[in-house]
Symmetry: C2
Subunit: 106 residues, 2 copies
Amino acid sequence: MVFKALADPTRRAILDELTDRNGQALLEICSRLATKHGLGSSRQAISQHLDVLQAAGLVEMSREGKWRLYALRPELLAEVDRWLKPYRALWSRRLDTLEQHLEENP
Amino acid sequence: MVFKALADPTRRAILDELTDRNGQALLEICSRLATKHGLGSSRQAISQHLDVLQAAGLVEMSREGKWRLYALRPELLAEVDRWLKPYRALWSRRLDTLEQHLEENP
DNA sequence: TTGACAGGCAAGTGTTTGCTTGCATAACGT
DNA sequence: ACGTTATGCAAGCAAACACTTGCCTGTCAA
């Protein structure tokens, strides 16, 4: 489920946002995605993405009065890192040049 | 496209197979997936998965007489590794125990 | 040259995905 | 108490996805 959850760019942007500031409410995430990431997704769309992330175990939710705060749970990302491990040796020869390329074209 | 390509478990299994032995023909990949990975996908299904992997830039194809040999191109996986980078510090505290857990439950 | 082998191409199908729309609910401020 | 804020829930919908089916195309070997 983790890989599928990461397939959507909006969901990856949500995770990125949560690393930036953990424990955000839904509308908070919405407005920050709109301004910082340039994504104009609706509240319901983001909410459903958060459901997917929660089902995948990448995010946890806690009720706090009026708000529902979402926090990152990065543990399962180690699964991705683990899958990536055998490949790391294969690209590492050209890693420097690619990293430079990505640096120039983000 | 890379993240979407990795979302499907069959496609990840194909990549795993190609690391094991690079430059395989289509039917070769099919039979190896069936035996080693326990996946009973048809020739056309695997072919379409390879199309996706090729479009994502993770695999390259070369015609060699009767066969079409598929080879891994791991460079773009560095993109995933790069995205993962900021998260690595977050889970690393508990990395040892999780890695052990995944080791015991592959 | 004919048959077997390796694979392409295209249309069709059932499910999933990402998103919207509309209405409901629960907590807070005044 | 009442309106506002923050969110849930459920149905609907178009597009994408994973896969199948059926037929066609090259390549090699006898």
